[in-house]
């Protein structure tokens, strides 16, 4: 990352703290300290604490969307698309762990307008996965009753990864992605349809 701008240092500090202690348990003084300044000086770079949260979520949403959307929109075989999409998702989680955790877990933090915007971002990403599964069903490659519930299971499985993933752990992103995708394919695409 090298030495980025102060603004991005602040955003990174906030993302780390929000993802570790939660948004409300993190004070602007915590954030300032981690960025190496005093709390009053934060406001030369940001509007307020909540704007910081929104920026983090937007960045994370963007990374997930731009990683997975081209895969879903491509015309490769559906099984390859699922494999690649899982790999892309795991890649974003493991590369941007703090942001991903906030994007995927901090729903309760938002209220009112902020919540609507947040949910819209998440829904857009979830719709990507819904489309992927529907494509497989329409091509008769996937074979499941209730594709909607199946999508919830798939997304839940993926959205759990950031909770137990450790950078120093035995499980590399590649191993996680390859096993997960083969298992999910096994689930969606039974050996003998009908």
């Amino acid at each position: 990352m090298a030495r980025a701008s102060k603004k991005s240092e602040i955003v990174e500090a906030a993302a780390y703290l929000f993802s570790t202690k939660g948004y409300h348990a993190t004070t602007v003084r915590d954030i300032a300290e981690r960025a190496g300044i005093l709390s009053g000086s934060l406001y030369a770079h940001i509007d307020n604490k909540e704007a910081l949260l929104r920026e983090i979520v937007k960045q994370a949403a963007n990374q997930f969307m731009s990683a997975v959307q081209p895969i879903v929109d491509s015309d490769r075989p559906i099984a390859a698309k699922l494999t690649d999409a899982v790999k892309a998702h795991v890649g974003v989680v493991t590369n941007s762990l703090a942001g991903a955790r906030i994007y995927l877990d901090e729903e309760a933090t938002f209220t009112n307008e902020g919540r609507q915007e947040f949910l819209a971002l998440r829904r857009a990403y979830e719709n990507l996965w819904a489309r992927l599964i529907e494509q497989g069903v329409q091509q008769s490659v996937f074979w499941i009753e209730d594709p909607h519930l199946a999508r919830l299971l798939v997304l839940s499985a993926l959205n759990g990864i950031h909770r137990w993933y450790r950078t120093e752990g035995r499980l590399t992103p590649e191993v996680i992605a390859s096993r997960y995708s083969s298992w999910l394919l096994r689930l969606l695409q039974p050996a003998m349809p009908n």
Copy 2:
């Protein structure tokens, strides 16, 4: 539930608020208001705010453990055990939604000693599922490389349910449990082992 004791009314109010807005965003005044008293009066019933959180988590942990443990320890066929365990888990989630959400999602809230106790409770429950899967592997009914990662996928899938479940929704606990368990069996127990 009828008219329970004031203490349990307070616990229920807190569980609802913690699960909806998060622990730190909930004030003792919020809790008192929902329990129909003033904030100072809370402390005739509870030690402090954090003790309330711990009690909620302990109750939820207890419900999950006592629902699933007897199933894992029984000597029924492994596939039936998995089906029943999924049903039991979904039952607790849908019956005690607020407590389950806090138990399964509020990890970041805890610090220091409280966190250790919390993680121990969660680990005990996760170990139950690890045992169930290992039993299936040892009996050669389940057939997976990396049972540890498979357990993480299974638990992630289960632990996602409380996030999208709605009491008034189309998906009843029975439907969710039966589809989830058949899918997870399909994943763990491929049609043609080797």
